[in-house]
Symmetry: D2
Subunit: 483 residues, 4 copies
């Protein structure tokens, strides 16, 4: 009944160095990044002598409201993590940041992304006698660092990231530095900011998006570059680039759906990008209609751009209920019969007798779209046309986004005409891949050197899918799990 | 830090008769009415033999997701209640519906509104030996019914409501009927609907708003009339009007802020009403500006109406974070210094260098407005003008809305110029009371017979404020409280 | 599997006046009275201005260990209550002390015992318009006081207790006095003590047993007399005797099983009484045996008396596991097959090859006895003889002890020979009723004027069983219940 | 206020092979072993295909009462563990059994005892890149097995135990066998039993004490021998003895205090042993007195033996309150002034005017003894003599018993006369070390080859104390901790 038919970002990260109340500032940053992961959250701080940690299920606001929790996280250095996870069972041992005590001291790490050779590495490490505690890719980093034969943490970290393949943005905290790492193609975002505290101290911030700087009044400095390691300590920021330069491939879906509209990514306002995509979509796929209605909330800016470009009235024909939690009553026959929808409701006064253009950002399985169209028709719409602010999602993501397997993707199995029929619309159109690139200020997609990772639309995977196998049914090493 | 500077509706009610899975249907209706009360919720059902009850703190979705809870609420008859309450302490014993066993059988009741002679009646009833369990006005009804000398439940109910003064919409459930009552002036809303179940049964629904009909696929039949009692049983709906007819005074603030935009109240779409108010406001108080920016979410339709009427671009210059819960970390000096705002963030790409018109629905204490203006200026706005889609809120409500005492209302103590200065805007304007009435389709406000209750704007209180005294520091009768 | 085949005391009460940290002292007193009720506990204090309350399920130690809870119970005056209750469902609203605000001020009351006309009174009070919140007899007192036409609290209390019939010991707290009441026959215990605080203040204590004085270092003053009301305030203790004097009938089962062995009741040490009963039993029903083995813990003193009188060795042949909580794993076929016993285990080294006399205090349903005998035989006992330190329990108690209905009492349906066979012993004997009286220092039982209430043995009920009807299936008034 | 001045056993273990409902049987066994650890408990089962686990804080009865928990532990093979732990903080990650997935499959292990070179091994393993999850010695076993170069689990296990030094009894579960291991000196107990299920299957049991066999109706087969590994699978029991034979040193304190009285250890009934120790003590240190009073519960059998041997009456002069939980109200000045004691109360009727011999099993810090003597005197005892059923505890244990550091042991710093004065008794005596050995059937203590480990009395530590250093302040590896 909770029509959650969207891809999901698999995490947001945040780090702070030389910031008074670092845990509180990190909690606020994680709050601004809540859309990148709502299932669990963790913070590790360092107070100059010891590490401190809190991890919990649920929202940021629920985890750090307790004065006792915050008092347990002293220090001016912290990293934090928000997690999206698919199943309740695994969530308990999969909350980040991870923390390990190496011979040379403690090391905490949080990770946004996915390794495509994690399984292969785990097998090798297990054979060597490493005991794994979680199913998280991030743990592979930790073991690789632990067994590295190099001396310094940084050399061990480089040793580790040279062995992994994948899309990842890391924040790490040692006893004397804050570290940020972005994968060689820069698929996942990571930015650097600077904050001036109440006490006059100037500190450093690492975060997944600029909206996490805004909430704590920090200034944006720059994006961490693809393949870059930034080392932050009291002497400032040092940059290391251990990889040969490659053409970057930032995730285009961050613009379409994942990122918050008030974030600026790689120099582009996400809100403006979505409006331009909507305008481009209106040009490519116009519709004769009375109202442009967004599927809230993510479809709103694209619908505004579409309305402006088409000259058709923009109206809130669908109202979103923001009180929907994770669970609700089990649907009975009665509830199914009545066509109950918890998240959205039709604004009948707007829809009745109208030719409606619904603007949404994506169609994954198509189940939500189908129900929304049904609801809009039940409210009296004369015609329903759907316009999608991204190309058809025909391929799964292996780089840190939770998408269904390919066989479940509507666009992987159906033509656009078939999709229109299944969803029940009078017409259906997607923006073209070239149109998308143009809306983002590129001349179109250069197939030889595409400016973005668009594998979910094109199947062109820029990072090797080494593991690409079914996960075996493994028992985890649970030395100390509490259930 | 959670800038919650809005008036609060004090409850939503729902009732179902002859509806399969009545508890589930009621839970869904309450979910649609969640905006009318988020602190506690309760459902009482009757299965033909016995009553069953669940009450709990928190959201509807959190209370009825458990299969065991729902299995404990059998029957085709139910009433439910959402509650807003000001303090945590009192909430435990103040969750509705109330249930009492009278000599003639059980009686459950839920209540939206406020009695203005509740305290006077409580004192008299206590003197008589009645033991009160809660601070809720609704309990006065229950005792009045219990001690009434009439024989039938309906006669006792009429006996009771003839003694109370106030604004109230009641739903009640006895062993053989569902009852709806609306106060003589019809200040608070109550509607009647009809639902056709999976099993072909046609049942009846009572609810505070039409959006609660939409979610369960029910049809709107009519508003319950001011002063009307509707008695619903298996023979149909019977209407009793125990009061002399009076000119109705529906709460105008329901249109401005409380009700959900997709509801239709007294024949008028709330969404359309808000857009028309925005358009009227643009006519009355235009501004030279580059962008019209709503204070989300409630200011959005008025801002759209303003933008359309003024021809200035509508932009989402403020983004609302929907993950804000009830608590968060305590603000430290650092957090205050950094100007942290949890609920809203500025969309810098839209605001920078622009002349901005902010459209909001009301100013209560002014604290939120001040912070939002500060945030918009910090994001680089060149000018900030504020337009409010209601007249100045200069009087407290005693009819079921939680407003601060008069001395805390910004408009009660300041001229508009002073308010503008305090809030920090370049200009500030409110819609006129006549303009408001006109936007709602009236010819203006007739001071002798106003079409609405507008006491919060005009101080013209249509119902006597009998108790209008400070509540004494009373200990409650807590025969069976569990803490 | 948890063989809980004993009668249960239905409550312990405690009161303190002019005692620093009254809530803490009351908590300690209730802890010493924990054996009189383990399911819920409550304390009400008065700090000179207001009443304060905490109630909770579970043990005393679990409810008052929290500094915050204790800080919420300020004052030098308090009453407290431990409750035994039969079902989880009702427990929530049945935790005492009750508190009510009357016209003349607050009134808290805790109650040990049972009213035999409670149901009759409830019906009359409900007809009058009183709304009941609980199934507790004690609530009848509260309503009777609330509606009394007398002016003072004491006159109202006398008015109330003149209307009730039953066995009861009450402690009550008003804004200016601590009150103790014992029923006219003195069936349930209540004692008065005096404590000298760290600050030199001398305060008063009321309690069910002397062990509650010992724990707080208080001195025993005297038993409250049957039918007496003691009124304690800063001027001292005043005594009122509103009933005509009657021959007292203290509950004889308090000596046999309920009371703690270190308590002194009506001048007699419980521990000594039990040893004397055991000695008398040995005289009346000797056995040729090798060892005397108590069924722990309650059978221990009687077994010691039996062993001394018989000259046979006393041995701990059965070990009790004190970690047994309220629940445990569901018994499966396997568990039943293995004859698992959670609470007791056989000390095989003592039992093997021996002729064993088991000494217990009572047989109710007989289920536990049967299993214990089976266990003792499985451990290799050559013969098993059972001796019971009370006469056969052939009648239910209606005076505050939870006993099964008569049809479930083994002794109500079987001869002693049949019982021996059912339980599986080689011989079975009970002390005679006259022997019991003699062990307690009486010349035997005078049937015209028995010194004790022994209704459970003799069926001679000294207080009228007015209600003696099946409870009707009633729905409770739940004005403010939170579930 | 909770006078917990006893040494504490640090764990009980249980294992089952080929037993229907293995988890339930294990839970029952752990319940019988509850006295060996009350802070946490865990069970790991294997269902033929996968491992399943539940771990939780608190008592066995509280952890396995939930049908859902038990349904999550399917299989006919299981191991379980009860844990005593000193601090709340560490308990979360220190609950056993540990589980690890090695290259060759899963491995679960539970451990009773202590390694004396654990810290040294941890440092070496961490240097090698092993990441530790807990502070438990047991984790050292797991890493040693993981990195062993041998092929089979058994060879790896032997490789591991050859590297560790300490006192330990292990139960382990692999995918195809149940393993029991006892350290070379057999300091900690481990026994083998056989159970015949409802289905006719004959299964195997491993347990710390025989009382865990009795509860599940299993037959005692034999003690696992010092230094023995028993391998149990469907073909039966195989024994391996990888160590050169040594003279065994079973922990003598198991007889004095730790073990349950109904257990039989190394062929001797614990209950009988305690009575014989009491009798020997009466011979060595008689007293002119009126009553022999045990300090309950552990002093009871010794007091019985003392009373029999001395001919003085045995009386329960101190009553123990079995409802004492882990916490209670904070002591205030008032509570301290009143001399409140939660766990024990004096039976005044027995003590008043009497010359009392108190019999206890040990004096550790002496704080409890002091308070008990004070209480006994306050109850009117004319003289108080104390007799202790063990020699003075003058040395800490490093073999799995939680004792205070040596400087906190009363007997380490004081002569017996000084101790008597500090405790406040008229006389004090301990059994001699030779008397203790004799009571246990030995000819006395042979200093060259003592029959028991008696290091806590003699300082003769039979196992090297390699680590014997202060633990450094280390941060734990918390890869996946949830707080």
């Amino acid at each position: 009944m909770i029509d959650d038919d969207k891809p999901h970002e698999e995490c947001g990260v945040f780090g702070a160095w030389n910031v008074t109340d670092a845990a509180a500032i990190t909690a606020l940053g994680l709050h601004a990044l809540q859309h990148r992961g709502q299932e669990a959250t963790g913070i590790v701080t360092h107070d100059g002598v010891r590490f401190h940690s809190h991890k919990g299920l649920g929202l940021v606001g629920d985890n750090y409201s307790d004065a006792k929790t915050m008092a347990g996280l002293p220090g001016t250095r912290a990293i934090g993590h928000n997690r999206y996870a698919t199943t309740g069972e695994t969530v308990l041992r999969n909350v980040q940041p991870l923390f390990a005590e190496f011979e040379f001291g403690g090391f905490a790490v949080g990770h946004n992304g996915n390794l495509t050779n994690a399984h292969t590495l785990r097998k090798a490490l297990t054979r060597r006698g490493c005991l794994f505690q979680s199913t998280m890719d991030s743990e592979v980093f930790v073991h690789l660092i632990a067994i590295s034969l190099y001396a310094s943490v940084v050399d061990r970290l480089i040793d580790a990231i040279k062995q992994v393949i994948g899309a990842y943005s890391l924040v790490a905290l040692t006893e004397n530095q804050l570290i940020g790492v972005r994968d060689p193609l820069g698929v996942r975002p990571l930015i650097l900011g600077r904050v001036h505290g109440a006490d006059g101290n100037a500190g450093w911030i690492l975060a997944s998006e600029t909206c996490a700087l805004d909430i704590v009044g920090a200034d944006f400095i720059r994006d961490v570059e693809p393949g870059e390691i930034v080392l932050i300590d009291d002497t400032g920021v040092r940059s290391i680039k251990p990889f040969a330069p490659q053409s970057p491939r930032f995730c285009v879906f961050e613009y379409i759906y994942f990122a918050r509209p008030d974030s600026v990514m790689e120099g582009t306002s996400v809100y403006n990008a979505r409006k331009l995509i909507g305008a481009q979509l209106a040009k490519e796929a116009p519709a004769e209609a009375d109202v442009i209605v967004p599927v809230p909330d993510s479809g709103v800016p694209a619908a505004m751009g579409f309305a402006e470009a088409s000259g058709i009235a923009f109206e809130l024909g669908i109202i979103r209920n923001h009180y929907v939690g994770r669970t609700f009553i089990e649907p009975t026959d009665q509830i199914r019969h009545l066509g109950v929808r918890l998240k959205h409701s039709a604004n009948r006064a707007i829809l009745e007798g109208k030719r409606v253009v619904l603007v949404d950002d994506s169609i994954v399985r198509g189940t939500t779209s189908q129900k929304i169209v049904e609801m809009v028709r039940a409210a009296g719409a004369a015609e329903v046309h759907m316009r999608i602010a991204g190309p058809p999602t025909a391929y799964s993501c292996f780089y840190g986004i939770d998408t269904p397997e390919r066989s479940k993707l509507l666009a992987a199995r159906n033509s656009i005409e078939e999709m229109a029929k299944l969803i029940g619309v009078d017409s259906l159109a997607f923006i073209s891949i070239d149109g998308l690139y143009r809306a983002l200020g590129k001349p179109g997609r250069d197939p030889k050197k595409p400016a973005f990772c668009d594998a979910c639309f094109t199947g062109d995977y820029p990072i090797a899918l080494t593991d690409h196998i079914e996960p075996r049914d493994e028992q985890l090493t649970l030395l100390a799990e509490l259930s």
